[in-house]
């Protein structure tokens, strides 16, 4: 066996899903990306030309929902083991802890329930009628107009830090009834394909499955993006975070090809002095704070990274010690012991450890959680279960650390939200939650400052 075939067989084969068909590569053919390989990309097969409507453009929304619900049910039962296979592959090559990934996978089908689908459509476009037909309005001059949410042509650049991104992208893509090209990220090469394969099993040959493709190319690859990302083929690029992918996509954005960006974000927490009312209360607050910090082992935009706290130094130290212990506990979306922090971050932490009393570090960089107590926020981006607790005089003082990149602000106690939320919004924040509730949301209500389904569809009018 020569060197190149050895490499090829060691690489994980990543299947593609193109318009309802499964493509499997490997065996020395196809494209190789080090640890994995894919089928050769046929870029002609990835577009739906505008000379004809998309396959699902005229499917009634009820039928779309039925297929989604059936898909969700089959994902739960998983008789062909498609989700199980994807889960195993992810567990081996992905970055998420096995337990966290497993619980995330178990949660995936829940989004496909009828209740959630209806809530999403009602909340994000104001009702299902507008996805099937025309809504009539009359303006003050007596002139009438009709408008509808018309199926779009979308390219989704998926994020891979949580498998829910693939699920919600497929749900929204299906509800638009448009055509959807999903660009897989290298940190989740399997979830989207497994869901689409399941859909193809419950509805073989259905126009909805023909409206989806899920493939990998290396983000920024001009040989692909320069030719695919054009208004003659697609209306919008839907990008989840990923500064690099946004920068590369920016080149192609122009008239007729719009960017819908779920921008990269940072989340924070604000803890009022009420936390110190009793030791029981403080323990509850530490647990709630740890829950928000450790979401997906702190890989999500929703994961809190800074805790601004109204406290004396002694109070803050007591909180930090409790918080560090809580961060080492396994939770729904957190492992007890996550990935070790990257070496550059570990060195930043060690440097601060040596700077006592200006900085106080609780815990070790061993994946169980590190808390850094300081009077100014640290310069680096805390990740891999690292959090910076910053003492402030009042929570209002902490508003100056909120920027346009701030997504979620978790507040304790809940009563303080009302006094803070306008100030937080003015500074750039998008989402205020009660401390401990950062997980979830974003379906049927605004996400990252807009109603996603509303942004995905094309609003067309018929006026007289």
């Amino acid at each position: 066996m020569n060197q190149s075939t050895k490499v090829a067989s060691a690489a994980v084969a990543v299947p593609h899903f193109v318009k309802g068909e499964l493509l499997v590569g490997g065996g020395g053919k196809g494209a190789h990306y080090g640890k994995f390989c894919t089928p050769t990309l046929d870029i002609d097969g990835l577009v739906w030309q505008r000379t004809e409507p998309g396959p699902a453009f005229s499917i009634p929304i009820d039928e779309v929902m039925d297929v989604l619900v059936a898909t969700g049910e089959r994902m739960t039962a998983d008789p062909s083991g498609l989700l199980a296979e994807a889960f195993e592959a992810m567990a081996q090559v992905g970055d998420l802890d096995r337990g966290v990934l497993q619980r995330a996978y178990e949660h995936l089908p829940k989004l496909f329930s009828k209740d959630w689908l209806k809530f999403l459509v009602q909340g994000e476009v104001g009702g299902a009628d507008i996805l099937d037909g025309w809504r009539t309005v009359t303006d003050p001059s007596g002139r009438t107009a009709q408008y509808r949410a018309f199926p779009p042509r979308l390219v989704h650049v998926l994020a891979g830090n949580a498998p829910g991104v693939a699920a919600i992208s497929i749900i929204r893509g299906a509800l638009t009834k448009g055509v959807n090209l999903l660009k897989l990220p290298s940190n989740d090469l399997f979830t989207a394909t497994a869901i689409l394969r399941t859909m193809a099993e419950v509805a073989p040959g259905h126009p909805m499955t023909k409206s989806f493709s899920a493939v990998y190319w290396k983000g920024g690859d001009e040989a692909v993006e320069k030719y695919l990302l054009r208004p003659i083929f697609f209306d919008k690029l839907v990008a989840w975070g990923g500064e690099g992918s946004l920068r590369s996509a920016k080149k192609y954005i122009g008239p007729g090809f719009e960017l819908v960006a779920f921008d990269p974000k940072t989340s924070i927490s604000m803890i009022g002095r009420e936390a110190f009312a009793s030791s029981e209360r403080l323990a509850e607050v530490a647990e709630a704070a740890a829950t928000d910090i450790c979401l997906y082992d702190q890989s999500a935009c929703t994961s809190s990274r800074f805790q601004f706290i109204e406290a004396t130094m002694e109070e803050a130290e007591a909180f930090c010690a409790l918080l560090q212990v809580e961060m080492g506990k396994e939770r729904l979306t957190a492992s007890g012991c996550g990935m070790q922090a990257p070496s550059a971050l570990r060195e930043e932490i060690e440097a601060l450890r040596a700077l006592e009393p200006y900085y106080k570090v609780f815990g070790e960089s061993d994946g169980r959680g590190v808390v850094i107590l300081s009077e100014d926020p640290v310069d680096f981006h805390p990740e891999a279960k690292t959090v910076n607790v910053v003492i402030v005089r009042t929570l209002e003082d902490a508003v100056r650390f909120v920027t346009v990149a701030t997504q979620t602000v978790g507040v304790f106690p809940a009563e303080r939200k009302v006094g803070l939320r306008e100030k937080l919004a003015a500074a750039g924040a998008q989402r205020v939650v009660t401390l401990g509730s950062a997980l979830g949301g974003g379906v049927g209500i605004p996400h990252d400052g807009f109603f996603p389904l509303h942004r995905l569809v094309r609003w067309v009018t018929d006026e007289c």
Binding site: P185, F262, T266, S343
Partner: protein, 448 residues
């Protein structure tokens, strides 16, 4: 005599950059053992690292890998210390990375970061800094003995393998400021004192290089992040950079005129590739043909092109213009005491007191055994530094050739191949996550 001193004294041997591994490695191992033991006593940060990694004994060179730092270490101070003028805290931070006591540093009445650096120098901490493109500069402490290693190597090995003797007969042109804490500049100052004609020393500017400029830009970035910057402040910040370049342009033209006039005499010209290109263009405009420079002229160049659009063969064109002159080029970085000098076939040769490593992409494990030709991430342990522990993992992707000789090259010894590139930064590996920072919204938006 200890092994470190033996290795460092090899600088006096004519064949010091072409020695055999079986001669070097046993000495390097012994020197590393001595050094690790001594530095662990002096630097709690290193001791902690060694304990965490479980490094008890050093049997092979690869056992040193867990003790190598990332470049972040030397800029791990909180920016707020600089912003708030907390120079005592900055000094304390530098102390955690320094083997020498910091109590001799006069901390009274310091105005800015340049002031702080001068006080460090006055107390014998001859720190050099990096250029701070990320908005934060590294502070790399050096003792006088460390500075002497740098000086001595220039004295003995300038233009290796065709060495030039320090006879103070060269005109000296440095296309940058006269002084400042960049290693390139410190090295140039040494070369000037040993090689330059006392009557013909020319720097682009007599004003010292100021780090305050860099901290000003970092502050601007912070103001933008906090949302307190105004549009005109952002514009003014960009404008300040442009005006500085305009002032420099006049002085540069003056130097180019002098260089062209003196081209038949030996001179040392040190500057970036773009500046070399500009000298060539100016000379051509005046009708100066190729190959007119004195054969003992030394061209030292390096660095990136800073966005300038030059043809792919710009180096070849530049050397065609200067003609049959000497060059001094090497592979190194601000953190290393001595660059690996380039031979006439384009290979960079190991310096005896620096142990190179090739690591995997992640910078954790060796990319392969220390034999043959190995590609991977470059890391090194510099055994010479007295002031600090100088083991570092870089972002460079290199090919190291451990063979004693190779058919395509004239000189033996361990070398780094010329094909040096950078590993992708975080985010460029196509792992996409929804988390990110304000930097994404402002980076690249202020003129550097």
């Amino acid at each position: 005599m200890n092994a470190r001193k033996v290795l460092m004294d090899m600088v006096y041997q004519p064949d010091c950059f072409t020695l055999r591994q079986d001669e070097l490695v046993p000495l390097q191992l012994e020197a590393a053992r001595e050094l690790v033991a001594e530095r662990r006593e002096q630097l709690p940060i290193l001791d902690r690292r060694a304990r965490e990694a479980g490094v008890d004994r050093i049997e092979t060179l690869d056992d040193l890998i867990p003790l190598l730092f990332s470049h972040t270490s030397f800029k791990s101070y909180p920016n707020s210390f600089v912003r708030n003028g907390q120079w005592d805290r900055m000094t304390q931070w530098l102390g955690t990375l320094t083997t020498r006591p910091m109590d001799g540093v006069d901390l009274s009445g310091i105005d800015d970061i340049d002031d702080w650096v001068s006080r460090l120098w006055a107390a014998g901490h001859l720190v050099n800094t990096t250029s701070g493109t990320s908005g934060k500069v590294s502070f790399l402490n050096r003792t006088r003995a460390d500075d002497e290693v740098l000086r001595r190597n220039s004295e003995l090995n300038l233009c290796w393998p065709e060495r030039i003797k320090p006879e103070r007969k060269h005109h000296f042109f440095f296309l940058g400021p006269r002084s400042g804490p960049y290693l390139l500049l410190i090295a140039a100052n040494h070369v000037e004192r040993m090689f330059a004609r006392p009557d013909s020393i020319h720097y682009l500017s007599d004003a010292p290089l100021r780090l305050t400029e860099i901290t000003r830009m970092a502050e601007m970035r912070l103001k933008m992040a906090e949302g307190t910057a105004t549009p005109s402040e952002i514009a003014a910040s960009e404008q300040a950079g442009r005006e500085q370049s305009a002032n420099m342009a006049n002085r540069f033209a003056e130097m180019v005129r002098l260089i062209i006039e003196l081209r038949h005499e030996p001179m040392i010209i040190t500057g970036g590739w773009l500046q070399m290109w500009q000298i060539m263009e100016a000379a051509r405009e005046q009708g100066v043909p190729n190959g007119q420079f004195h054969p003992e002229t030394i061209i030292q160049s390096g660095g990136g092109l800073k966005g300038a659009n030059l043809p792919a063969d710009y180096r070849e064109q530049v050397f065609e213009f200067f003609g049959d002159v000497r060059t001094q080029q090497g592979y190194g970085m601000s953190e290393m005491s001595t660059g690996f000098p380039k031979d006439l076939d384009g290979f960079y040769h190991q310096v005896p007191w620096i142990v190179p490593f090739v690591l995997d992409r992640e910078g954790v494990k060796p990319a392969g055994p220390r034999e043959g030709v190995v590609e991977g991430r470059f890391a090194y342990l510099d055994l010479s530094n007295e002031a600090r522990w100088n083991g570092l993992i870089t972002g460079d992707r290199v090919t190291i050739d451990f063979r004693e000789s190779r058919p395509e090259a004239r000189l033996p010894g361990l070398v780094v191949h010329p094909n040096i590139s950078r590993y992708a930064n975080i985010g460029e590996d196509d792992k996409i996550g929804c988390a990110g920072t304000i930097d994404a919204y402002i980076s690249g938006e202020i003129g550097a």
